[in-house]
Structure formats: C-alpha cells, structure tokens
Symmetry: D2
C-alpha cells in the first residue's frame, strides 16, 4: 500500500525504569510493562496529533478488551528503554496497538505486546469512530497497518 510506504517513521517513547517498579528478583516487575504499553499508546496518539485526552473530551474511551505479550529479556532499575508502538489493526469500532520494547543502549529486544481496544461512548455503548470523531478515524486509516473490515 502506497500510503504505508510514505508514512514517516515515528520516534519511540523513551522511558527510564523506576526503582519502585523493581521487585525482589531485582528486575522490573512484569505488570509494569502493561502500564508502559499505556504510556506508549498515549505518546503514540500525541505523535499522531490527536491526544487521548482530547479523544476522551470528545466523548470516546478506548477500554482494553485484551492483551497479549512476551517477555524476551529483563529490564533492570535505571535502564532506559525505547518503546515502539503502532496501530497494527483497526476498524470503525476497534483498534489493536502493537508494542516493541528495546534496551536503548544495546538495542536488545526486551518485550513484545499487543492490546485490543474497542471504542465506547460516555454511556459505555460501542460507537463507530468514523461517526464519533471522523478526524481521529482518518488518522487510523492513515497510520493503521491493516483495516480488518477491508
């Protein structure tokens, strides 16, 4: 797809691992990566020019329907990681975001994951993003890698 070939490459979200995120194995506790995925997702939307805060202000939320991830190698206190995220799938009512975490210094892969989301309105009902926030849906069409309705 021509579109995809011409999309600029977005800078990763850079994150330092905090002391309170370690556990007694002296590694970052696995639950924190799920929070880092959220931070990276928020950063991704900031990069796309339509913040998650604004999505919520326009009356739509993205609750998480599902997650899957694999832990490839350990992150330790004070390590800096680069989190690459992208919209791997989308439709009018759903979106999947993919994440890849690498050690900043060495480039070693730490983690890969994915989160599935649906779009809900303020009443908690599913909405079509195309109707609810057309401008955001256009971003999905431009940046999303696969339209699952296509």
């Amino acid at each position: 797809m021509l579109q995809n070939q011409t999309r600029p490459v977005l800078p990763p979200y850079e994150r330092k691992a905090h002391y309170y995120e370690t556990d007694q194995m002296a590694i970052i506790h696995h639950s924190n990566y799920i929070r880092w995925m959220e931070e990276a997702r928020v950063h991704l939307l900031d990069q796309l020019g339509f913040s998650y805060k604004r999505v919520e202000e326009e009356g739509v939320t993205f609750p998480v329907l599902g997650l899957s991830c694999t832990y490839k190698s350990m992150v330790r206190y004070d390590d800096v990681v680069n989190i690459y995220s992208s919209i791997s799938q989308y439709s009018r009512t759903r979106m999947t975001v993919a994440y890849r975490i690498e050690d900043k210094a060495s480039g070693i892969l730490r983690f890969e994951g994915e989160s599935q989301h649906c779009f809900l309105n303020r009443e908690g009902r599913p909405v079509s993003m195309k109707k609810a926030i057309p401008q955001f849906y256009e971003l999905l069409c431009y940046w999303g890698q696969e339209n699952t309705e296509a």
Copy 2:
C-alpha cells in the same frame, strides 16, 4: 471520656504482602504502605457500619490533605500484617485517621502513620459532614478520639 471507655475494640485489618509490592531491596516498597493505609481506612468504615462506597454514593468524598508516617521495621514478601486504624481527630469538616502496622506473627511494630482528610461534595466544595450525612457524623462523634472543635 466515658464514651471512649465503652467503645468496643475493633479487629485489625489483616493484609498479606504481595510479591509485586516488593522492590529490589527485597522489602515491601515504602509507597505501598500508603495504599495499605487506604485499605485499612476503608475496612475501618466497613466495621463502623457505613462504608466509604456509601459515603461516595451520598455525595461526599474524603480527599487526602496530608500524610505523615514512620517506617519502623521492614515487611517482606508473604508476611502477614495487622493494621490497626482509628479516627484520631474529627470536626464537622475534617478527619484524621491514625494507623499502626504490626507483624501478625511476632507483634513487632512495622509502621505508624496518619492521614488528614477534608469532606467535599460532588462539586469539590468543602461540606459539613454534620449536615451532609448526619448519620456518618454521629459515627465520627462516637468513634472519634478528639473533636478538634471542642
């Protein structure tokens, strides 16, 4: 004060320390005790017969105005602690809750703390608990150790 002498003694809130609450010093990270204080505060209100959930449903919240605490000895993974809490001070618009954490097995003191709260309505404005939820204010008068207006 006669009232205080006749108040029954409430059972402590029992809590097991979770793995994800440890840090790389192999102790429970200090920030988690602040969360345990909240758990114990919620448990205290349950014991008094007027849950925090119900307080919120009646339109009042208790944001934290301030905290102070001292860490006496370390809690480790899988330790069970007893958290004793009580309403140490109260007025129509404020409340202070005191906490004492002991190791369940040995009785050794782990932590002492205090949290100060004000009472706000749904609009975020200070309210008199006496007017907003008279039944809850009566509980404060009965269980509270010191009325700072008195």
Copy 3:
C-alpha cells in the same frame, strides 16, 4: 484421565477491589488484573501445599515469559471477585497457569487470562523442576491438566 477426575476442587481466591486500583473511567484499571493473577497464582500454590516463597527459598523462580488475557466485563471499586486458577500445562521446565475471574455476588464473568512461566535457578539458568524440587514437580503432575512433553 482418572487422576483429574479425582482431584478435589480448590476454592477460589477471593479479592476485594481497592479504591487505588480504580482509574478515571471509574473502573479497575486493566493493569491491576495482571497483579491479581499473581496473587491468585501465589494462593494456588498455597492451596497445593508448597508456597511460592518456599519455591524461591529452594532456589527456583518462575519468571513470566508471556501473558494473554481478555477483559469480559468491568470490575468496580468495592466489588468482590472470585479468582479461579489452575495449572493448565506443565513440563519439566515450564508451566502455564490459567485464570478466570467472576463477580462473587452475581457469578458474571469478568476476565480470563493465562500466564506462561519458565523455571530458573539462582544464576538465572533454566532448570528441570523434576531435578530441582522433585516434590514440587509431583504436584505439577498431579494438579497440572496437560503435560506438554507427553
């Protein structure tokens, strides 16, 4: 398999949702379920009679290799959930634990998930549980639903 038919049914891990686990959607933030999975896993081993603490003391850890989960319906502050967990797969070097979270009051399904683990020694090297802690391996054989080496 005869073994499975005669295994007693284990009681679920009961958990109350804490206030600090909510987010501004007024639901329990999705990252906390990953922590609840850990709590339930620890509880499961307690039920089996060989605590995770003892596993660690005998020199073995179970880092998480991967997670997958689906969020079925929302948990709110003060809700009580029952978490059912079981060892769905095992081998000498790996283990998968499955989780199912239900609302205690209504029985409504909230969440299903799975965590994959490997067994490491103190030096961080993979170990055969059969050799490292034979008594624990016997529990895996008895309680595990599928031996992936078989």
Copy 4:
C-alpha cells in the same frame, strides 16, 4: 553560608501524569506522589553527578525512615508537573530530602513533601556516609542545606 549562596540552581524533574495513576475521583491518586518523590530524588542525585544506582553499587542504600506531605491542589491526567527537590538536612548517617510539586503550565503549587532516610550497608547496618562513600558525603556537604550535626 557562602557555599550555599554560590550553588547553582538545579532544573526541576518534569513529569507527566499517567492515565493509570488516576483514580475514580478523576485525579491522580495520592499514593503516586510518594513514587514521584522517589523519581525526583533519583533525578536529583543524577543532577549532583552521583546516581543512586552507583550508591547502591558501592554498597549503600537509603531506605525511607519517614515521610510527611501535604496535598495542595489536584493533579489530573496528562498534566505536566515540575518537581523541585533538595537535600534539606544531612548528617553522616542520615538525610532529609524536600520536594515541591508545581503545575508546569500555571506554576500553581500542587504538593509539598519531605522524606527522611538513613544510610545502610549491604548487611542492613547503619553506616557513616563520610566513611562509606566520601565523595558522596562531599556532595551532601555542598548541596545539603543544614548539617544537623553542626
């Protein structure tokens, strides 16, 4: 003291409030500020040129002995705050760090706090920082506002 008058002013630690740090009051949950204090403390040592990671590698830890803080106004999701921290007191065996959190955009005060720390060696025994890591003790003398032994 002449020294203090000539100390350069250190830049604050800038921190964005994450979605998972909110609670159902739609504000940042109060326990997270305790974690932000830790992040700011780590950042402060980085600025002083002797990271906390290096302190730990040289065999000394700074467990928290006590905390006190006041919440002045609310921080919300996506707000950016500036956290100013400084070593308000020190001795050979202890240190107090003070924190002040301001909204970056408006400068409005959000929070003030303080954490007390002792210095322990790998065996968990109190140590004199002057003897254990003289170079770090010199930084305390230069940057610390009050020597409680003086």
